[in-house]
Amino acid sequence: MDHFPTNWGRPRNDAFDAYATYPIHQRPYNGPKDSFADGVQRTQQPIVTGTSVLAIKYKDGVMMAADNLASYGSLARFKDVQRLHQVGNYTVIGAGGDMSDFQYIQYILEELSIDEISAQDGHELGPVEIHEYMSQLMYARRSKMNPLWNSLLIGGFKDGKRFLSYVDLLGTTYSASTLATGYGAFIAQPLLRKAVEGREDVITEEEARKILEDSLRVLFYRDARSLNKFQIAAISSAGVSISDSMQLDTAWSFAENIRGYGAQTQ
């Protein structure tokens, strides 16, 4: 209907929709949504990544180690990154994989700690609770096809008991007295097992440190995404202590006389 008398009886353009009648106006829908109906997938690829994390149980508690590198593909982009994070008074979480997702995890755990404090119920978050929370979170994200692309080691000491467990982007969890993620799972784990298994209650702090350092050295030799700058965290009855950055001694002098790849002598 044209309301303007001056247009009546004059040429008109029916192709122009003056009152915006098409498409028909939809009422907003705020009910339950089916993510799969749209075929929307949010599984990402990790961009800025951390490599292996290692952890072992020793006599007084749990020790964890990780280097200070965040890589951007093959570029060693950020060389001063802390991949071991303290949560509360009893736990350390170490992360490999996407670093932005790890920063998000740190934020979530901070919120969790604040909630726990304000509850004032006499309970404190320990490694068991942190691990349970993380494994629920990681599996839930995986089931929504939007994972937090990390492999995490959670270690701690509370009420006289040592705790060490793994959780990853798929929601897989497992526990042992020696754990390693990334390349560490292939290269360091056999070394850690040999040194630790059966002797968890005997290994001193110095020995534990040495075992981790030896494994980190092999990883620095063989993992092209690693750095010779790392930290070691120790959690015991004395609390959580994350060391300053350290560097390892490496052996290269044997290579001086190597020549060529086959028959070359010069």
């Binding site: 093959s74 570029l75 404090i117 959580v240 060391s243 001694d249 290269w252």
Partner: protein, 226 residues
């Protein structure tokens, strides 16, 4: 990587060669990776194709050129010029350009021309340059090289330049690392230099990571009641 011969895939590296008044310095890192596993951390990537001509490690192609240069020496009774060696590399790379992806640097000394450096990138073109860098690590040091290189350097300054450049490349490129190997090629011979991985020149390494004091959880303070 070379596909002519099966073997280790040398993906990623840092190589360079620089000319100076009396000769050339050719240098390389020592890391061979398959993906992100370091298959060899002490590789020798400086391949001898002639007594005064070295190239960056390309194995299959280098073997062929080495063979041709030995024939040349026998046939001509004289040492081959570097330009001939570079030309041989170029022919092989250009004719097989679809099958090969090797970026080659050839450097050496000959009587006719003195020192020279040739760069043969992927397409198989031939480029003579006073200094050449190659490999995945080289992308990180173009700026440093452009800013630092000067004509007219002597042997020691050139060796410093190569050492610093390769260290910077190895510090950032995951596919490069290990030790630095260098050859100083002059009329009198080839001098091998070696810098172990713990003695590399250090540059900015990121700030010190100092972990903060142990966080004590905040004790809730009771509100003052009026």
């Amino acid at each position: 990587m070379n596909r002519l011969k099966s073997g280790e895939v040398n993906l990623g590296t840092s190589i360079m060669a620089v000319q100076f008044d009396k000769g050339v310095v050719i240098g390389a890192d020592s890391r061979t990776t398959t993906g992100s596993y370091i298959a060899n951390r002490v590789t020798d990537k400086l391949t001898h194709v002639h007594d005064r001509i070295y190239c960056s490690d390309t194995q299959a192609v280098a073997d062929i050129v080495h063979n041709y240069l030995q024939l040349y020496t026998q046939i001509h009774g004289a040492h081959p010029p570097v330009s001939s060696a570079a030309g041989m590399f170029q022919d092989i790379c250009y004719d097989n350009k679809d099958a090969l992806s090797a970026g080659i640097i050839v450097a050496g000394w000959d009587k006719e021309v003195g020192p020279s450096v040739y760069n043969i990138p992927l397409g198989g073109g031939l480029f003579r340059q006073p200094w050449a860098i190659g490999g995945s690590g080289s992308t990180y040091v173009y700026g440093y090289c452009d800013a630092t290189y000067q004509d007219g350097w002597g042997r020691d300054e050139t060796v410093e330049f190569v050492k610093n450049t390769l260290s910077l490349a190895m510090a950032r490129d995951g596919s490069s690392g290990g030790v630095i190997r260098m050859c100083v090629i002059t009329e009198d011979g080839v001098e091998r230099l070696f810098v172990p991985g713990d003695k590399l020149p250090k540059f900015w390494e990121g700030r010190e990571v100092l972990s903060g004091p142990v966080k004590k959880s905040v004790e809730p303070a009771a509100m003052a009641i009026e």
